[in-house]
């Protein structure tokens, strides 16, 4: 199995662990992540406006070069995943946006959302299979109680992301079971961490992250996992809790014995 891989800026800097463990695990599980040549920053946030074209271009470039390579595109960072998947959906369903983007890019073959975009977790669930992961685990994290934090960007908007039931997802819980740990049932797993307002309004971010971390702790979690560097930052820095927050790839690497 070989996929085109879009790491994104943060995974090259502050979020290196998410990327590094992701690659190690991919190797251990037998699939290849081929980093796209010359990828650009996706823009970090999906531009919702119909008349925002320039801000959607870099995502389209990544999608086009994946299409031209004849592959599927795998992302790891929730934010990149959200941006690329939503822009891809625009290219597929919004003729006006597609026309303007294609006019701007002047591609030989216009792009209309042909590329399949997968999150790393979807590769684990749908391609590798959690049962096979379970079989590949060398150090099961038995006894660990882990809270799966989804945040917003993996799940919503549900119609576009098509990732899991946006209100009652199970993919991360299944993942936790596959690596031998016990998932914690908690309600705030798809509530916002405060996101980007942390730059300007720390208290808002603290409030949001605080609610999330408190709920995880009060339900007996010993660790919180996430797929998003921004969530990780907010929960760690603004969550007001000592509960460790780690990337899901780090736990996977630990379980597979490649950490």
């Amino acid at each position: 199995m070989k996929f085109s891989y879009y790491p994104g800026c943060t995974l090259k800097t502050k979020g290196k662990d998410l990327d590094r463990y992701g690659r190690l695990c991919a190797e251990a599980l037998g699939f290849t992540l081929q980093e796209l040549p010359d990828w650009q920053c996706c823009g970090a946030v999906y531009p919702m406006a119909k008349d925002e074209i320039a801000t959607k271009l870099s995502a389209v470039r990544a999608l086009v070069s994946t299409r031209d390579a004849g592959e599927e595109l795998v992302t790891l960072c929730s934010a990149c995943h959200n941006v690329i998947k939503q822009v891809n959906n625009d290219m597929k369903t919004d003729a006006d946006i597609a026309l303007r983007v294609n006019n701007y890019l002047g591609l030989e073959t216009p792009y209309h959302g042909e590329t399949n975009v997968l999150h790393y977790l979807e590769v684990l669930r749908d391609r590798v299979g959690f049962d096979n992961i379970k079989a590949a685990v060398k150090n099961p994290l038995t006894g660990r109680k882990i809270a799966a934090y989804y945040g917003c960007l993996l799940l919503r908007p549900g119609k576009v992301m098509q990732f899991d039931d946006p209100e009652n997802p199970t993919i991360l819980e299944d993942f936790i079971r596959a690596i031998g740990a016990q998932p914690v049932a908690w309600g705030m797993r798809n509530e916002c961490c405060g996101g980007y307002v942390a730059v300007e309004d720390k208290t808002q971010a603290q409030k949001r992250s605080g609610i999330v971390m408190e709920d995880a702790a009060s339900n007996g979690a010993d660790t919180v996992i996430t797929a998003c560097p921004l969530c990780l930052y907010n929960l760690q820095k603004n969550g007001g809790s000592t509960l460790p927050v780690v990337y899901f790839t780090e736990l996977l690497a630990e379980a597979l014995g490649v950490k």
Binding site: G8, C9, T10, T13, K14, G15, C41, G43, A44, V45, Y46, P47, M48, A49, K50, D51, E52, T55, C77, A79, C152, L155, R156, P157, G158, K159, P166, E167, E191, C192, G194, G195, Y196, V197, A198, V199, E200, D201, Q204, K207, R208, P229, L230, L232, Y233, Q236, K237
Partner: protein
């Protein structure tokens, strides 16, 4: 009901939202994680855009408080997508010259060492043009 003006039309076009679909149930506001920080709440965005009161919304700090978490978009039973209105109103402001809510020069002072790139790229995208 509204004195349809240019600003309203621009917001409607840019957001792609059909405000008339709203049945005023308030689920968006019930679900909004940024409620406490907002002066106008998601359902008011919908109603005020319908009434053409873009100026009030544009002048409100509420437009910088939406977390773009898409909860209102997903949970609205009428498919109204209030978050897209907030974004469209904010864009109508920051697209004007000198109206950036945050300039790149201001960023370094706000940084801490752990902040991921994605955080201030998002903030710049949301707050400036």
């Amino acid at each position: 009901m509204s004195h349809s003006n240019h600003a309203t039309e621009q917001v409607l076009r840019s957001s792609g939202v059909d405000v008339r679909k709203c049945m005023r149930c308030g689920k968006c506001t019930a679900t909004c994680p940024a409620f406490d920080e907002m002066e106008y709440h998601p359902h008011q965005f919908v109603y005020m855009v319908e009434k053409g009161e873009i100026e009030k919304l544009a002048a409100s700090p509420s437009i910088y408080k939406c977390l773009s978490c898409f909860a209102c978009v997903d949970r609205c039973p009428r498919g109204v997508e209030p978050a897209k209105l907030v974004e469209a109103v904010r864009l109508s402001v920051i697209r004007k010259q000198g109206q950036n809510h945050m300039s790149p020069d201001a960023i370094p002072a706000l940084l801490d060492e752990d902040m991921p790139q994605q955080l201030f790229v998002t903030a710049l995208r949301k707050y400036s043009k």
